[in-house]
Amino acid sequence: MGPIVIVEKVSIRFGGLLALNEVSFQMEERHIQAIIGPNGAGKTTLFNCLTGFYKPTEGSIVLRRDGKSYHLTQPPMGSFRGNPAGWMGGFLRNLFTSNPIHRTALLGVSRTYQNIRLFAQMTGIENLLVAQHNSVNHKLLSGIFQTPGFLRSEKKALEKAWYWLEFMGLEDTANIEAGNLAYGLQRRLELARAMATSPRLICLDEPAAGLNRQEIEDLNRVIVNLRNEHKISVLLIEHHMGVVMNISDRVVVLDHGEVISEGTPAEVQKDPRVIKAYLGEEEEDAPPQSRREA
């Protein structure tokens, strides 16, 4: 199995701030890969580049799928800069062609968010049905007249939605509005929703945030199961080392927008640069005893 994602020299600049500086790494298919790093290291920014939310200032991100390569950073119609009708062209491109977020999603990349973004006033199962929008029959007339083909596709979508709800242990809360669910259930529902799009690659932004020990154990089992049984590649940002070290195949460490280390969890753990990034220089830091007090 080859790589599923190739990130090459990706830089992104927000005004004067260089949020990502020539970040390069690869991710193998059917791996669980973690991106770790201190706060403000650029992890979520990298995710946003990967899923089409941000356009990198430089560099390229290639998604490989069924032996074909898709450049996520390049617009499908080619560059419109320098085109005499560039401005208008850009506008029309925005209107008529799919935008990068949408395109990335169609290529089989799905994600969750650091701050949960569910459709709060829709029920859990409706959230999962929405996620299957592109795979169901969404023709207007067949829906209004409920043609047999439409009913079949709805039934299939429902079955899939129930499958993922059960997979995440949410079948009892399927008809409760997502906004009214408890926090842990909302996190699970978001993961279920991401899975309902049938992705190849799923990007999880701090999936363990705010979960208790039992819930984290469940989460680990779920993620491993996604890789083993459902043949999905999982890219995750996580602070919780219990998740990162136990389940990931590879770890990428970011600090100040740069990759400072990459390897298996065990390798990364020993890397002096990682230790420095996390704990700071020994002599610059506060004395050990005061840290213990804190």
């Binding site: 929008h133 242990g169 199961n225």
Partner: protein, 527 residues
């Protein structure tokens, strides 16, 4: 409709007195239920509100400009101030009071409005005001009782109301029959004047009004797609209504000779309006909330200004006439146009103007039912779910692969098509259209129907459309207060019941197959 005030007077007086007594009782309850400090706070609060109201109302209400001089109407402004202050007192009391007392408080509102009306309005309107308040209260009570069906009811008043939901929940299984019965009633309604031709209860005027209500239901269903489902606040909805009405008038005027009449014009105009909706949709795709609202508002104005100024095309502010619909080529006039055949001659029956009203009413009923049906289906379809997802979180829905361009455009397009059909019906019902029928006020009325009824809901919107169009007809003397009432209702509904009269109940899904519980590969052993 004329209301015989003498009939209403005695019960109204009894009710007023009862309500005043209840209000007094309610205030006693506040004193007993709340400690004195809270009571003092309430009074202080009401006094402040009264003082502000005085500064706001005395100049505008009390001093009326007339020929560069002032007419003093201080008394009327002070009454208004008093009503505001007392109303505030009661509201803050009711918010703090127990549920049971709230019912007394509502009755007290009738008392307040009576006192208020007594000073503010001349004789015939006084009782009307009280009546309006009573009707509204009755509706609120009934709806609340309906909504509380499952909850435990904790006061005598609501227990009485609680008898209702039981009846309804028992009828739930027979909901289909109920619907069938209601629709049947509505279909048979217009034939009453023929059976009871001596002294018909339902007149042409009634039928015209009911037709207008049905048109509003149709329009509200269209706007419900845009605002209720897709969450796009469209303040220029009237533009598509105008496109429909003018499209009908122009098409039949210019293409009438090719045999294009009402029935052909209907789909053509609907597509025209849909196209206009799509065109509006393009520029506003990336706008959200507030921006969208103001741009659509501007769009509505643009259409109206065009209608006024393109005199060669639309005959400007003088308006143009629209033909009446025909039934398979048969006309409803006394004498047919060249080549046409009037209905009564064809069937060899005496001419009766009512036929036309009955016919348009039935057409409007059919189209309104179709609109409700389509809306129902849309809500449960992938596109409906995508609209709602877009409303809830545009970014997240994009990341799920939903093409927000097509989804948004389809909401605008479909909503506009509904409005186009409504416009054709309006033009055919009135027989005459002019730009003054398509002002922002009309958009505001449709929006308030959707908002009051509950965004995304069907039953609520139907009820709201009926209330908002029939109530003003019932109380014609208060017609001028209609928009004020709509505005107030919009503000207070948003504060007290943001979901509208009837909050949408989500569709519940039941797992059918027996595979339940069999596969929980990840969490199975943990539980």
């Amino acid at each position: 409709m004329e209301i015989d005030f003498i009939i209403f007077n005695i019960p109204v007086i009894i009710l007023e007195q009862g309500a005043l007594a209840a209000g007094f009782l309610a205030s006693l309850f506040y004193i007993r239920a709340l400690d004195l400090r809270a009571y003092g706070e309430m009074i202080k609060d009401a006094a402040i509100v009264g003082a502000i109201a005085m500064v706001l109302f005395v100049p505008i209400v009390g001093l009326v400009l007339k020929d560069r001089s002032l007419v003093f109407q201080i008394e009327r402004s002070l009454m208004l101030v008093g009503a505001v202050a007392v109303g505030r007192l009661h509201i803050s009391g009711a918010v703090r009071a127990r549920v049971g007392i709230r019912i007394l408080w509502r009755l007290a509102l009738v008392g307040i409005s009576e006192t208020f009306a007594f000073f503010f309005f001349p004789e015939p309107q006084r009782n009307l005001i009280v009546l309006v308040v009573l009707v509204v209260l009755a509706i609120v009570f009934a709806l609340e009782a309906l909504l509380r069906s499952g909850e435990k009811l904790d006061s005598i008043g609501s227990k009485i109301m609680g008898a209702w939901p039981a009846v309804i929940s028992r009828a739930k299984g027979r909901q289909g029959y109920l619907m069938f019965f209601l629709v049947g009633l509505l279909v048979l309604l217009p034939f009453e004047p023929f059976i009871n031709s001596e002294n018909p209860f339902i007149t042409d005027y009634h039928l015209g009004t009911l037709t207008q209500t049905l048109i509003y239901i149709l329009l509200a269903m269209g706007l419900n797609i845009v605002v209720g489902l897709a969450g796009l606040l469209d303040l220029g909805f009237v533009a598509f209504y105008a496109v429909g009405a003018y499209g009908y008038a122009l098409i039949t005027l210019h293409l009438g000779e090719f045999g294009i009449g009402f029935w052909w014009a209907l789909p053509i105009t609907a597509s025209l309006a849909a196209f206009a909706g799509c065109m509006l949709g393009f520029p506003v795709l990336r706008m959200h909330g507030d921006y969208l609202a103001i741009v659509t508002l501007g769009f509505g104005e643009i259409i109206r200004i065009l209608l006024v100024n393109m005199i060669d095309f639309t005959n400007g502010p003088n308006g143009m006439s629209a033909p009446r619909p025909t039934l398979m080529g048969l006309e409803f006039t006394r004498r047919a146009k060249e080549g046409g055949v009037p209905l009564h001659e064809y069937f060899d029956i005496p001419y009766d103007a009512t036929y036309r009203y009955v016919f348009i009413y039935l057409v409007a009923l059919a189209l309104a039912l179709a609109a409700i049906f389509v809306f129902r289906r849309l809500r449960e379809m992938p596109i409906g779910r995508a609209w709602e997802a877009l409303r809830e979180d545009e970014t997240a829905s994009k990341a799920l692969g939903i093409n927000h361009t097509t989804v948004k455009l389809s909401a605008f397009t479909l909503g506009a098509a509904f409005a186009g059909v409504g416009g054709v019906l309006f033009a055919a019902n009135e027989g005459f259209i002019s730009p003054s029928s398509f002002t922002f006020v009309e958009s505001a009325i449709i929006l308030s129907i959707v908002v009051l009824g509950g965004m995304g809901s069907i039953t609520g919107v139907i009820i709201a459309a009926a209330i908002l169009t029939l109530l003003p007809e019932l109380f014609r003397d208060l017609q001028q207060y209609r928009m004020l009432g709509f505005g107030l209702a919009m503000v207070f509904i948003m504060i007290w019941r943001p979901g509208g009269l009837i909050k949408v109940r989500r569709r519940a899904f039941v797992r059918r197959d027996s595979a339940r519980g069999a596969s929980n590969p990840a969490l199975g052993e943990a539980d």
